[in-house]
Symmetry: D2
Subunit: 190 residues, 4 copies
């Protein structure tokens, strides 16, 4: 039997739609619409996905010597596609920004603007992000939250300036980087 272009295209299109449907269903925890908003909000606060991909690369390169920056960036993007992650990011950034604008009431304002060590809710949101790729990410999150590599250290220092608040942002950046590292570990699971 022979097919012309139209028949072929139609057959392929049907296959494509069913595949995409399956793929989309699998991705039902994703929210592509909000993805752009979240990426932009993070960038406006000084945290680009590329900065997080670099942290992810540094975390995983010793386990996967052939790992590339591009693959890390892809996994950071996947993490930020998750609805749970987006909600944690939007909530944390909102609190940082409202603190800078002086719209948070006391005694919370004082805790947020000073990045009070016993506050803990920034870590709680970070855990919600890390959890998206399971419990193996806790370790990487704790490690980068302590050692503050790359952009995390920069954001932490910036947050100490007058009028600036990065209390949630630095934990969010660490959590996304750690979740991407977990995602890569699952991807190359033996």
């Amino acid at each position: 039997m022979m097919y012309n272009d139209t028949t072929l295209k139609m057959k392929i299109r049907i296959l494509e739609v069913s595949m995409i449907e399956k793929y989309k269903e699998e991705n039902r925890m994703n929210d592509a619409k909000r993805y752009d908003v979240v990426v932009e909000r993070l960038a406006l606060r000084g945290a680009k996905l590329e900065d997080m991909a670099q942290i992810t690369l540094d975390l995983q390169i010793k386990y996967l010597p052939s790992l590339t920056f591009e693959l890390c960036l892809e996994h950071v993007q996947k993490v930020v596609m998750k609805r749970e992650v987006q909600n944690a990011v939007l909530t944390g950034l909102e609190l940082d920004e409202l603190t800078e604008k002086g719209l948070i009431s006391e005694p919370l304002a004082e805790m947020l603007s000073s990045d009070y060590g016993l506050y803990g809710i920034d870590e709680v949101l970070a855990l919600a992000i890390v959890n998206v790729y399971g419990s193996i990410g806790f370790t990487n999150f704790g490690y980068v939250d302590k050692t503050k590599p790359g952009i995390i250290g920069k954001l932490d220092a910036e947050g100490k300036k007058d009028g600036k608040c990065n209390t949630f942002l630095d934990d969010i950046v660490g959590a996304i980087s750690a979740a991407a590292a977990s995602s890569i570990a699952h991807r190359f699971a033996k």
Copy 2:
């Protein structure tokens, strides 16, 4: 040997101080100063500790038939003394109030004002509260969050009105009640 009043009082005072010191140290996760602020903030939003004590009583009475309202109230107070709980409450209430004032940006504002079912960060904060008395509280939290007894149902309904937002408040109230139930269970552990 005989003691006069002064000697006795001094000896008792020394004992008392050392005991209080020990007690206080044990309570180092508490923050008495902020306790009053938190109780007042909850009351201003319509949630009195007594309302939570009633939910706690209803949860535990079948396991402890001799349980009283007063004991439940005492345990609710102990939960609210914990720093981790206070921080979760202050953060959640702030987000509810800022939503009502129209100070939250989109797309978070829409999720908070509509108590969007897939938001999840309200549950994340609730878990941080419940965790204070260990994992046995998860069950009670989930149960009251679903069945919405007493004040929880009232707050949930009120939150649906125009201009009102109780997205975090109803979970917080459920979490404090559940944590107090755990606290009682630990207290009467066999």
Copy 3:
């Protein structure tokens, strides 16, 4: 231009492979090999995926009146495909079975065989399962863990018999059912 069967099949195959590759990558947290082992282990302990699908259906039918048993079963299967879930199930069931065989040492054996209310580690594993679809599942888990519908009640009762231990199993079943409910909620997100 015209294509013959072979060309068409080849073109479609190339598309298919790339789609499957994408799909697989997305599913890198899944472990299909262990899926069969986990399903069989659960069934041997008296918990079939169909029993969990029924609980999921009962939980979600009021939000989605057109929900079917088949769709619930499909989501239960997806939950059990996740590596994190499989590991929690295998660990919990092992502890139940070793308790029955008298291979657990004291004082843990006594806590497990009596399903001690303050043990808590069964809830900790359940949370790890629920977390796979985010924090919105906590509520459903707590609710079914308390109300013990269908197979959960049966397993709980059976676990109280001499020589039987279902301390982890009933929480695992509740957690998988609750996670499947979350998965459905994400799938039909507005």
Copy 4:
């Protein structure tokens, strides 16, 4: 008025009992009976409380230059007094020991004996331990789990030997040390 020895002793005893009662109540999450069992079990596996106190000291000394080893040990002891911690420790050690004895079935046995990186349940139990002093401990746990200072590195290396399994033990030791660091941070809260 004058008191004799007996009156004094009685008066002091009454005060003491009421104080201890209050203290005990506050400590209702503790379990002193099991404390000795847990300490012994940890020691038999090669992990002494002193080893954990040393990790805690190294974690906190930069924030509290006057911190002593003795105070760290005291806080490690307090962490191990908590029921939730004891249950996590007893469960984890049991799984390590049963793995060594060849009593765990496949495919769990293989994951436990090889300390499989994507297993994750060891981290889940560790989190339950860390949570006892709130979310601020996540960071310290992740850090020591990654850098493996002192006894953690030793246990990790030992666990790689044939017939040995420390899959849970090294996470437990890290979690207790991190929780003790949190406890100290709360104690010296400003």
